[in-house]
């Protein structure tokens, strides 16, 4: 029996919207996560993920079945997010003024919610240090376990360019780690401090 995902893909390529929606349901998390890690806030991530799927819908007839579908989707998302980050730079929007996180899961204890928020802020600050393509390379490497060849294919770069970008990005992240961690931890402690102190 054929893989249902492969059947949905065949149907989606032949123009069935319901089959494509099934693919959206299957791949929404990886695509959204990439957009979130690239853009740093939930509103832009939602828009970018929706736009990525719309672009995939438009060009699905050009999709090469030899290639992994998720890799193809993430490649579309990464290119879109890189363009958005470049536009943001042109518009001179400081990354710090972007909307903050959504409210944490109400099921979490205050300590766990605080820890989660702190980790998210720290990660966001770290990733914001990187240029668009370096950030995309890091996200693909660490969240999706992409090889350097896969990253190169997805970002339309050479393998040596990817190696160079990963090298530079790791250095930048390691150098920024202390600063981001300390400032985030300090800010988080201040949220719960009594005004008397």
């Amino acid at each position: 029996m054929a893989n249902p995902e492969s059947e949905w893909l065949d149907l989606a390529i032949s123009g069935n919207d319901d089959a494509f929606t099934r693919l959206v349901e299957t791949y929404q998390s990886p695509v959204y996560n990439l957009c979130y890690r690239m853009l740093g806030n939930t509103g832009d991530a939602e828009d970018a993920a929706q736009e990525s799927f719309w672009r995939a819908w438009q060009y699905i007839k050009r999709y090469d079945r030899q290639r992994s579908f998720v890799t193809w989707l993430l490649s579309i998302s990464a290119h879109y997010c890189i363009d958005q980050l470049r536009k943001r730079r042109l518009e001179l929007v400081p990354l710090d003024v972007l909307p903050e996180e959504d409210a944490p899961d109400p099921g979490l204890s205050p300590e766990a919610a605080s820890k989660l928020r702190e980790e998210k802020q720290q990660m966001r600050k770290l990733l914001n240090r990187l240029g668009p393509q370096d950030r995309a390379a890091i996200v693909m490497r660490y969240w999706y376990d992409f090889s350097e060849v896969e990253i190169a294919t997805s970002l339309s770069l050479t393998v040596s360019a990817v190696k160079s970008r990963l090298h530079r990005a790791r250095r930048e992240l390691a150098l920024a780690y202390d600063e981001c961690y300390e400032t985030t931890a300090l800010a988080e402690r201040r949220r719960y401090e009594s005004p008397a102190f």
Binding site: D17, T21, S29, L126, I138, L175
Partner: protein, 178 residues
């Protein structure tokens, strides 16, 4: 103190052989910056590896599906506009090419006047073609046998039907196809 090739080894993410690893460990014992870099890199990579996959709000796929008709309509509008703009651009390019030899000697008024004249000539030519076609269609029918007329009409109907079906297939929302 030189940090190379140790810094490169640390940041490349590649697996080191036994000898390289030994050299790196010896260097890290004496080099504070490289030691700090290693420590921070390990912590960063740990954070990256444990960071969860962030999920969208519930109903993401439904929101996408609901947005499809509006996106498709916007795309069709864009396509129609691009065809119109392309047509006008091609017309303008042909016209400019046509007046190019005289462009240097013509004033703006003369160019505008020439544009109006040429546009009127084009409309007149189209009307004349329509008139000639009308005379031909009025003159030819008595000379053609009835059987040929029936055959021609049948072929015309079949071609029209194919055209309407093809148009319907192109313009119908994608979900209705399957």
């Amino acid at each position: 103190m030189s940090h190379q090739p140790f810094e490169m080894w640390l940041l490349s993410g590649a697996t080191l052989d036994k000898n390289q690893n030994h050299q790196l460990q010896e260097h890290l014992k004496t080099c504070k910056p490289c030691s700090k870099l290693t420590c921070n890199l390990t912590r960063v990579e740990y954070q990256l590896n444990i960071a969860p996959l962030v999920k969208p709000r519930a109903g993401f796929a439904q929101r996408f599906q609901a947005s499809l008709p509006a996106r498709q309509a916007a795309r069709q509008r864009r396509q129609v506009w691009s065809i119109i703009i392309s047509g006008l651009s091609i017309g303008a390019a042909i016209y400019i090419y046509h007046i190019l030899p005289d462009l240097a000697s013509l004033s703006i008024g003369a160019i505008l006047s020439s544009l109006v004249n040429n546009s009127l000539s084009l409309v007149a030519a189209l009307l004349r073609i329509g008139q000639i076609s009308g005379y031909v269609l009025m003159g030819i029918p008595p000379a053609i046998p009835l059987a040929v007329w029936i055959s021609l009409t049948t072929v015309f109907c079949i071609l029209s039907l194919i055209w309407v079906l093809a148009l319907g297939r192109i313009l119908a929302p994608k979900g209705e196809k399957a």
